[in-house]
């Protein structure tokens, strides 16, 4: 099991800036150094691993210390300890999702350390209850009627300090025959219980103290909370029901302690108290916002901006994590002379090795090469800590081979607090919509294998992308490295200084800003080499106030790991409609790069056959010096250049009419299956062995002002570059394109 993990405060750093490293090391001491990452594939068939030591002030040995993550989202309202009330009512509309989990707090001012406080909880038996204690005896009552998962309830509890009377009201929004899930119970507890404590008022958790500057939450609740209210007296049920709306009877406002509206600041981390008491709060660990409330009708629009009052809920998860909040162990002031590239902090102790990958980019507006490698940080974040190998029993039918797990996946299955990827489900079965880089990303490192990406190398994303960087260095091509997070924030300016931009193997996740920057680049004379498959596919959003976190809403359709609920198709971070770029109006990947996702399969890759378009004089440079009919019948990713995820040229979806197909793949395995978004009715004949649309098209086209695009449409493609010591027809063909793309001579769009 891993004993070293870590992350950096930023993945992209500019010379002159400092990057800080947070390290969990269970060994007494570790050594650390900086390496430049050129080639991270450890397969015997690959060129030797190339991690170049870069002398720095980091070089040395250090004392290890454990650091842990406190996962689980909650809301907090910090209150003065003296600000308390003896009698109290707590209430909300709730939609629990794991009633069988055990004790979960919905609204609490409960200090786990002293065992003192008051809380509205889901009790051990899955029913609603109240807990109250002055630090000694724990008083609790509950309805004893387990709630249904994923159904809405009116939930309220009260305590009258004068009489000791406590009550619990659990009222389902919908009644079902055979389901007895409504209940109101009351009991006389001790009067005058002084439950006051140092605990803040928390939503979806109780207070477990602090650890290294972080608030620790306990009794984490899974599900939605809508319209929580607190009153400083014990209210009768009729008054509690009256407070559940958005307009309150005057006689209840005097005792209203707080009434929170989660539809305010949906993109951010605050939530507003509308009671007039100004007890505003903050969410921690990024629970999902922009989710439908108990009153969502489906008739008044589907975007939270249409009628925010129908999206006044927050979905909390006990495994949400945003910023791990670890203390800094090491920092590197990046010297002005440090060449742009991919680097990693290498940590080693007792034979265990870990890496924290980062990019040194050039200073803003100061490209230091004609070529830029576009590091797909957003996609790496989307896949960060993926649990493909432990999620779904059908994973082997994707792979068409045995499931091989790697140590980091074994660790992540057991350490759910490290958070999930956008391909995973939360512990309550809801899809993971947010992914942060402010936590260890255990699959963003050299020398790591994956479930996807086939033999012999078994690489996926970052480590597979080192096949491209090692090829560039083998060819002696100078290049800068920039990240697509930089592209999001700086737009076209980031790439305007480059003659050619080269992508990674799978640049799948794009924000509007990223998409627009690439399109502006290719329409302004830039040359784009898209050396991958299934690129520019999902629309994502970055958060405008919280750094290092992205959001996806897998709306409508597409090849997807989960489906959002109706009414949750719009990003909470921006209000933009989520889903596939091909559903975003004239912005399919085909529009941008001439091809779009058509099939996936992860067992073996195939080859390309030269197409008639290769003879077109406009594209003659691609095959210059290559007489082969078959291209790439070899490679480190599945044994061929065409495989894993494939893109097809299709003018009807947006491929420019003048784009030229210079080669197409064929003879894919049955494991490569046609994508669902291209199927209306399901039909036979959709697998690679029989479906002609299961293929990769290699495409070239000219763009305005002398620019051009070259796309290969296969994730496996770059796994062929290093084959046979980089001496092969994929390498030659790709270098032909790169040389022409670096040539300043403008491309000329063909005349009508």
């Amino acid at each position: 099991m891993l004993k070293i993990t870590g992350y950096a405060d930023r993945v992209s750093v500019t010379p002159g800036q400092t990057v800080s490293f947070m390290i969990n090391c269970e060994y007494a001491r570790y050594s650390a150094s900086i390496v430049r990452v050129v080639q991270g594939d450890t397969a015997p068939e690959a060129p030797p691993v190339k991690l170049v030591h870069v002398p720095s002030a980091i070089d040395g040995t250090y004392e290890g210390r454990p650091q842990i993550i406190h996962a689980g989202s909650f809301g907090r309202v910090d209150l003065d300890k003296r600000l308390t009330t003896a009698s109290i009512s707590l209430q909300a509309m709730i939609m629990p999702t794991t009633t069988g989990k055990g004790r979960q707090a919905i609204l609490s001012r409960w200090d786990e350390g002293s065992g003192r406080g008051v809380a509205m909880v889901i009790a051990e038996d899955g029913s609603l209850g109240i807990e109250i204690s002055a630090g000694g005896e724990l008083h609790r009552i509950s309805t004893g009627r387990q709630m249904l998962d994923r159904h809405w309830y009116f939930a309220a509890v009260t305590y009258d300090a004068d009489t000791g009377d406590a009550s619990v009201h659990q009222i389902p929004q919908h009644d079902f025959p055979t389901i007895a899930d409504a209940g109101s119970v009351s009991a006389r507890l001790a009067a005058g219980l002084d439950w006051s404590s140092d605990a803040p008022l928390l939503f979806a958790a109780t207070y477990g103290g602090t650890d290294a500057g972080r608030m620790v939450a306990r009794a984490l609740f899974n599900g939605k909370i809508d319209r929580p209210r607190v009153s400083s007296c014990a209210l009768p049920l009729a008054d509690l029901r009256a407070l559940a709306g958005d307009v309150w009877p005057k006689h209840l406002t005097g005792t209203l302690f707080g009434a929170w509206d989660f539809s305010r600041d949906i993109p951010g981390v605050t939530f507003e108290d509308l009671s007039g008491c100004a007890r505003h709060g903050l969410v921690v660990n990024m629970p999902t916002r922009g989710v439908t409330g108990h009153n969502f009708t489906g008739e008044d629009g589907h975007c939270w901006m249409d009628k925010p009052e129908q999206w006044s809920a927050i979905h909390f998860h006990d495994d949400d994590v945003y910023d791990a909040g670890w203390e800094i162990d090491l920092a590197l002031a990046v010297p002005e002379t440090m060449k742009s590239g991919i680097y990693a902090l290498r940590i080693e102790a007792e034979g265990e090795e870990q890496f924290i990958t980062f990019v040194v980019r050039p200073a803003r507006g100061q490209a230091t090469a004609k070529l830029a490698f576009l590091f797909p940080l957003a996609t790496y974040m989307a896949y960060a800590n993926e649990h493909f190998g432990t999620n779904d029993g059908l994973v082997e039918l994707h792979l068409n081979r045995a499931l091989i797990l790697h140590p980091h996946q074994q660790f992540l299955n057991e350490h759910r607090e490290y958070g999930h990827s956008l391909y995973d489900l939360h512990s309550d079965g809801s899809g993971v919509a947010y992914s942060s880089r402010l936590r260890p990303m255990l699959n963003l490192r050299p020398k790591v294998e994956a479930n996807h990406g086939a033999a012999p190398s078994h690489l996926w994303l970052f480590n597979a992308d080192t096949h491209i960087t090692s090829w560039l260095e083998h060819c002696g091509e100078d290049y800068d490295v920039i990240t697509d997070e930089d592209l999001h924030y700086e737009g076209y300016d980031l790439v305007s200084g480059y003659r050619t931009v080269i992508t990674a193997t799978h640049p799948e996740y794009y924000s509007r800003e990223m998409y627009d920057a690439v399109q502006t680049y290719t329409h302004s004379g830039g040359r784009l080499m898209y050396l991958g498959g299934n690129g520019f596919y999902w629309r994502i959003a970055f958060n405008k106030t919280q750094p290092g976190i992205i959001e996806v809403r897998r709306a409508e359709g597409g090849s997807r790991a989960w489906e959002p609920a109706t009414g949750e198709y719009y990003h909470s971070f921006t209000g933009e409609y989520g889903g596939l770029w091909r559903r975003q109006g004239g912005r399919s990947p085909n529009h941008l790069v001439g091809i779009g996702f058509t099939a996936q399969g992860f067992d073996e890759s195939s080859y390309y056959r030269r197409a008639s378009g290769a003879d077109d004089p406009r594209a003659a440079f691609v095959f210059e010096g290559i007489d082969d009919e078959i291209i790439g019948d070899f490679g480190l990713t599945g044994g061929g250049a065409a495989g894993m995820e494939l893109d097809r040229h299709d003018v009807s979806i947006g491929s420019p009419p003048h784009s030229i197909v210079v080669a197409s793949s064929e003879k894919h395995t049955e494991a490569h299956v046609f994508v669902v978004e291209d199927m209306l009715f399901n039909h036979m004949g959709t697998t690679g062995d029989v479906c002609e649309k299961v293929r990769a098209d290699m495409v070239f086209f000219e763009t305005p002002r002398g620019g051009a695009v070259f796309s290969v449409g296969s994730i496996a493609f770059s796994g062929s570059l290093p084959w046979n010591g980089f001496d092969n027809n994929v390498s030659r063909l790709t270098h032909n394109v790169l040389k022409r793309f670096l040539d300043p001579a403008p491309f000329v769009e063909p005349a009508a």
Binding site: G393, I404, L405
Partner: protein
């Protein structure tokens, strides 16, 4: 139902030929009959699923049994140094588990 159909399929097909096909090449495109068997036995739920834990990159794999979300996997004794041998071992165990067929090397 599918299981009965597969049992019929196995009875009617030349089982040694299908087994030999798998032994020769456990990954990639199989014949229709073998692919159907393989798809069935590889559809085990995550709890109880046989899998491999890579213990030395590209050199050593250990047989494991998955126990579901968040739960430690059970490490079994079998260790392999060739991934095709590991595939074959899992195939044999699953043919026993799903069809009560004993296969030998």
């Amino acid at each position: 139902m599918a299981k009965i159909d597969l049992k019929t399929l196995i009875r009617n097909e030349d089982l040694p030929t299908l087994v030999a096909e798998f032994r020769a090449k456990p990954t990639g495109q199989h014949s229709p009959a073998l692919q159907r068997i393989v798809n069935h036995i590889r559809s085990e739920p995550m709890t109880g699923k046989l899998a491999l834990l890579c213990t030395k990159p590209h050199e050593e794999w250990r047989l494991v049994e998955m126990n579901g979300r968040g739960k430690p996997m059970t490490l079994r004794d079998e260790v392999f140094h060739d991934i095709n041998d590991a595939e074959w071992a899992i195939f044999k165990l699953r043919m026993k588990r799903h069809f009560d067929i004993d296969l030998t090397d």
